[in-house]
């Protein structure tokens, strides 16, 4: 009884410690289904005594039984104003999750409190719910599943390849002849960085770590194996940029991989970068986001969202950013674009599929998305000068694209939340990185994070989308619709 009374105050105490806002909950229906986002366990509603909280826990690595530690807690208000049926609850020393969604299946789980400061729980019981059907999350609305890669759904693997090897071309340089960078140097002295305001960068935000990778360096290296600190742990991530297709990705390796670094294979598929992983030497198509040959064939990398934009815009978004420097250990003419007029003219250096699709200029930068069999692109130049939004449906998925042609960025999110709420957005000007606000009053940044309002702390689901040159997108995904 004593503990039961202490938990709400304990959570509020932690709210205060974390500097979080105690929200006045307006009675809007919230989904109560607990779910995982990476290593974060999100509990949209937890009832404790006479209060309701939104809580996020971090899964502690390599703990058996599993332990979870508190990241954040936001008081939502009185449970009386919230639909708390089937909600997660805390009573005594037990945290009960009746419906936790893990990879499409529903489980129940009970945790017991083992430490109060910091607040740590340990798993004591878990079982799959009888009404759980794999692939159909509990409380499922008609929410299309995300494609994890852009590769074909059921590719045949022939002679070890999941794609036609005759369409893989040798680019000329030997493997790693375009030398990847490993743990590059960054600078905070941005005024001396030697980068023009309108130069494009690939921006990454991992926790509070904000980094920019200039195209003018990536043009010469294409792969950057970098290390971030996540939850006090070093985590290897690989940023890749293909200058021939204008596409950038960041991967966290792939399942079961221990060496999560990649190299440049010297090969191209549809003129696009083919990497190899340094654990199995398997080949990986960047734009398919899938291994296409080797023991990892058909494996899919874990991805991290990137934002491509101008250096000026990125700095406006994140003044605290650090910038990768030209002190790479390699002598390259970083001020010179390696491929002449390629990025502006109609030329192709390598043969690609569907090269006659000239609905757009071959080098038009487009933000593309694939959902199921549907594919659509949003030309970056077609966004307004100020931040503008396109609310759309692709393959049954409600999406919102936010972008600006002048500020030269475009991002795309699923605007239907896990609780089946479909949000309506309006653009926000002059508050970068905030780009939009929804009909509930939440403001969202360019990475899809809710930064203020009732859904603060939540994140829009990133769609499987990225920017590429039009010729490359239509080579990979013929029949793509143009917005």
């Amino acid at each position: 009884m004593l503990m039961k009374n202490r938990i709400p105050s304990m959570l509020c105490f932690l709210c205060a410690q974390l500097g979080l806002i105690t929200l006045s909950y307006s009675g809007i229906a919230q989904g109560q289904s607990a779910h995982l986002e990476g290593n974060t366990l999100i509990l949209p509603v937890v009832t404790a005594a006479d209060k309701a909280f939104r809580i996020e826990f971090s899964l502690e690595a390599n703990t058996t039984p599993l332990r979870i530690s508190l990241i954040s807690a936001v008081e939502l208000g009185s449970p009386d104003s919230i639909d708390i049926s089937n909600a997660n609850s805390f009573s005594g020393s037990t945290l009960s999750l009746p419906d936790i969604s893990v990879e499409g299946a529903s489980f129940r789980a009970d945790f017991t409190l083992i430490n109060q400061d910091p607040l740590i729980f340990q798993l004591v019981d878990a079982a799959e719910n009888s009404n759980s059907a794999p692939g159909n999350p509990p409380n499922a609305c008609a929410r299309p599943e995300q494609d994890l890669s852009h590769g074909p759904d059921n590719p045949a693997v022939i002679s070890g390849f999941s794609v036609d090897p005759s369409k893989i071309q040798d680019g000329g340089p030997a493997p790693d002849g375009i030398p990847p960078l490993t743990n590059p140097q960054f600078t905070q002295n941005l005024e001396l960085a030697g980068i023009f305001p309108d130069s494009l960068v690939v921006g990454v935000k991992v926790g509070d770590d904000v980094r920019a990778y200039p195209h003018q360096i990536l043009d010469w290296h294409e792969v950057v194996n970098d290390t971030f600190t996540v939850d006090d742990q070093q985590q290897q991530m690989t940023l890749s940029y293909c200058p021939l297709t204008g596409s950038a990705m960041m991967w966290k390796g792939f399942a079961q991989s221990t060496n999560k670094t990649f190299g440049t294979s010297g090969l191209l598929f549809n003129s696009n970068l083919v990497m190899y992983d340094r654990e199995t030497n398997s080949l990986w198509s960047q734009m398919l986001e899938q291994s296409i040959r080797g023991s990892a064939v058909l494996d899919i990398p874990e991805k991290v969202q990137v934002v491509e934009t101008t250096w000026q815009t990125w700095q406006a978004m994140y003044p605290e950013t650090i910038l990768m420097t030209e002190n790479t250990g390699f002598s390259r003419p970083y001020g010179t674009y390696p491929y002449g007029s390629f990025r502006t003219d109609q030329s192709l250096i390598f043969n690609v599929d569907n090269s006659n699709d000239l609905r757009l200029h071959r080098k038009a930068r487009v933000l593309g998305i694939n959902v199921g069999d549907s594919s659509k692109v949003y030309p970056v130049a077609d966004f307004g000068d100020s931040v503008s939004l396109i609310q759309d449906q692709v393959g049954g998925m409600d999406v919102v694209a936010a972008g600006s042609s002048t500020q030269n960025f475009a991002v795309l999110f699923n605007r239907q939340l896990e609780d089946c709420t479909t949000l309506d957005f309006t653009p926000v000007q002059n508050q970068l990185p905030i780009v939009m606000t929804d009909n509930e009053g939440t403001q969202w940044d360019v990475f899809g994070h809710a930064v203020s309002g009732p859904r603060t702390g939540t994140k829009l689901e990133k769609t499987n989308s990225y920017i590429a040159y039009w010729f490359a997108w239509t080579a990979f995904f013929p029949g793509t619709e143009i917005n």
């Binding site: 893989i168 071309q169 030997a174 190299g263 090969l267 390699f330 002598s331 003419p333 491929y339 250096i349």
Partner: protein, 309 residues
């Protein structure tokens, strides 16, 4: 006859050094073709057989005229074997034929992946020559003109399931047409000291199966050759070479084409009256290459022997 022999011998030496037609390689020309065809004057019924092997290291990285330090321990080389023969058809007319076998290899020392290599039959060349003027005791000038064709008889899809890049193929994979000429001047009546000039132009208008065509190529060489006694000879010269950019589907390929100036020394020894051997080399003097960065010649050396029937 001795003078004619000496003159022919020196012209053979000059031919080894001063002419080159590109086989499948990067812009820096990895495989000598025309240089393996002797340019010595040939009497009706004469038959020369030549074998040349060359090692060509192409690991330099060049930005325009500037060498770039490459920290990745890159190795890129070709070894070519070329056999050729020349037959005197009639007075002042001769025909030469050539066949090549080429091995390419490349590696990057810092890579987790190993060395890659290709090999196979390379291109063939047929060259018809007319020599209106010979060096004789009564004439110190020799002029020779030729037309030829480069035939893509070799392998241009090496690499297995993934075909390797054009510069790793033994053969260009497309026909080319050749114009060729040479001029020699004997400084003395014995013709033991000569000035040699040579030019050739190759038209590369055809695409290979991957819609790729190498750029047209022009070579000009100038040098001095001298015989010492009846067996030894040496030569030294400069060779200028320029190529247009390569193309695919008529779009220019960035970082291809440029100008090269090489120093080309050689020594020669007549083992018998019929058998001559030579060693030659090539080192860059200057270059001005198109685009942001190109591989280029570090050095090459060749061994050659010619047998006269």
């Amino acid at each position: 006859m001795a003078i004619r022999y000496l003159a022919s011998s020196l012209l053979l030496l000059s031919s080894l050094l001063f002419s080159q037609v590109q086989a499948a390689t990067c812009s820096c020309a990895g495989v000598p073709l025309l240089s393996a065809i002797d340019s010595s004057s040939t009497e009706p019924g004469d038959f020369f057989f030549n074998y040349t092997t060359e090692f060509h290291e192409m690991s330099d990285l060049v930005e325009g005229t500037k060498d770039i330090r490459d920290e990745s321990n890159r190795e890129r080389s070709s070894i070519s074997q070329v056999v050729s023969s020349t037959y005197g058809l009639a007075d002042r007319w001769s025909v030469s034929g050539l066949l090549s076998y080429v091995e390419h290899s490349r590696s990057v020392g810092t890579s987790f992946l190993g060395e890659q290599g290709t090999s196979g039959l390379g291109d063939a060349v047929v060259l018809l020559r007319y020599t209106p003027l010979y060096i004789t005791p009564f004439s110190r000038h020799e002029v020779s003109l030729g037309v030829g064709v480069r035939l893509p008889v070799g392998k241009d899809d090496a690499g297995g399931l993934i075909v390797q890049s054009e510069d790793m193929q033994p053969s260009v994979g497309a026909q080319g047409e050749i114009l060729w000429s040479s001029y020699s001047y004997a400084f003395n009546q014995a013709a033991t000291l000569q000035l040699n000039l040579s030019t050739n132009y190759t038209f590369n208008n055809e695409e290979n199966d991957r819609n790729y065509s190498f750029g047209d190529e022009f070579n000009f060489a100038v040098g001095i050759s001298q015989s010492i006694g009846t067996r030894f000879g040496y030569s030294a010269g400069l060779r200028y070479r320029t190529t247009d950019a390569d193309e695919r589907n008529s779009f220019e390929i960035p970082n291809s084409g440029g100008e090269w100036l090489d120093f080309v020394p050689a020594i020669q020894y007549g083992v018998t009256d019929d058998l001559t051997i030579s060693l030659s080399g090539r080192v860059p003097v200057a270059r001005d290459l198109e685009g942001a960065l190109q591989f280029s010649t570090s050095y090459s050396y060749a061994f050659s022997m010619t047998y006269a029937l």
